[in-house]
């Protein structure tokens, strides 16, 4: 499991490879908070290569989204597979997040 960060059209894009779970979520959190501190305001997390997310992973997404909003920024999510969509629906987090079908759709909507 690892996180890759890149910058596209002024948006910080994070690719989550593997799981986003209790054992590694702090890494993602720190990475995004560092960028936020560095002045970035637009964030996209891309789940194309993500295996599964547990409740701690969801928790990190919730708290990042809040922190980014507090700084006047925005967090979007893209490329959730069927399992991840179900997970967001079960927890009603699909109502909290801005979820795009593709990376391009997410990027162009910022």
């Amino acid at each position: 499991m690892s996180f890759r960060t890149s910058k596209q059209n002024g948006v910080v894009v994070v690719d989550v490879d593997g799981q986003l779970i209790v054992g590694n979520r702090q890494e993602l959190k720190q990475k995004v908070l560092d960028e936020l501190e560095g002045g970035e305001r637009k964030f996209l997390i891309d789940f194309t290569n993500t295996g599964y997310i547990d409740s701690s992973g969801l928790g990190v997404l919730v708290s990042l989204s809040k922190k980014i909003r507090e700084q006047g920024g925005e967090l979007r999510l893209a490329n959730l597979n069927e399992d991840l969509r179900t997970l967001f629906e079960l927890t009603k987090l699909d109502t909290l997040f801005n979820i795009a079908d593709s990376r391009d759709a997410a990027l162009s909507a910022f």
């Binding site: 799981q19 209790v22 054992g23 295996g51 701690s56 997970l87 079960l90 927890t91 109502t95």
Partner: protein, 155 residues
């Protein structure tokens, strides 16, 4: 894979059981779930019942056992016992804590809880597993998942 031959190459319908014991180290959850899911896959389990319900449900139980039951002390162990059968798999996760009564945990899907970072673990276990028993064995939880989705529960 260098495993005993199963004859016809298809999973036998005969059940199997095995156990794992792990130090309380959150980094072990990913490889443990990877292994367990692989065993289920070899046994013909597939689809979102395997990749979502099983992986996330068991992951939550392991995390809670390590974090709450064993207070993240790597010298304390989590024991995982698996009964893998044709129709269903049962997983018992036992920690060295005092056990707990999940009783009425707050519903994390209520609007006032939606922005809370925590509080979704037990909820997900109950949503994703077909049977959940926190009581039968004290400091442990027993999870059961059927291979096929059971008929809709009257709820």
């Amino acid at each position: 894979m260098d495993l005993p031959d199963r004859g016809n190459g298809r999973p036998s319908r005969e059940g199997t059981h095995f156990a794992l014991e792990l130090p309380s180290d959150l980094r072990l959850i990913d490889p443990a779930i990877g292994y367990l899911a692989g065993r289920l896959r070899d046994y013909g389990y597939e689809g979102s019942r395997l990749t979502l319900n099983f992986r996330v449900g068991v992951s939550e139980a392991l995390a809670n056992a390590m974090i709450y039951g064993n207070a993240r002390d790597p010298a304390k162990r989590v024991r995982v016992e698996v009964e893998l059968e044709w129709e269903r798999v049962s997983v018992v996760v036992r920690d060295e804590g005092d056990g707990f009564d999940p009783g009425e945990v707050p519903d994390p899907t209520l609007p006032e809880n939606l922005e809370q970072p925590g509080g979704r673990g037990i909820f997900l276990i109950r949503e994703l597993m077909d049977e959940v028993d926190f009581h039968g064995c004290g400091n442990c939880v027993r999870l059961v998942l059927y291979r096929q989705e059971p008929l809709p529960r009257a709820s």
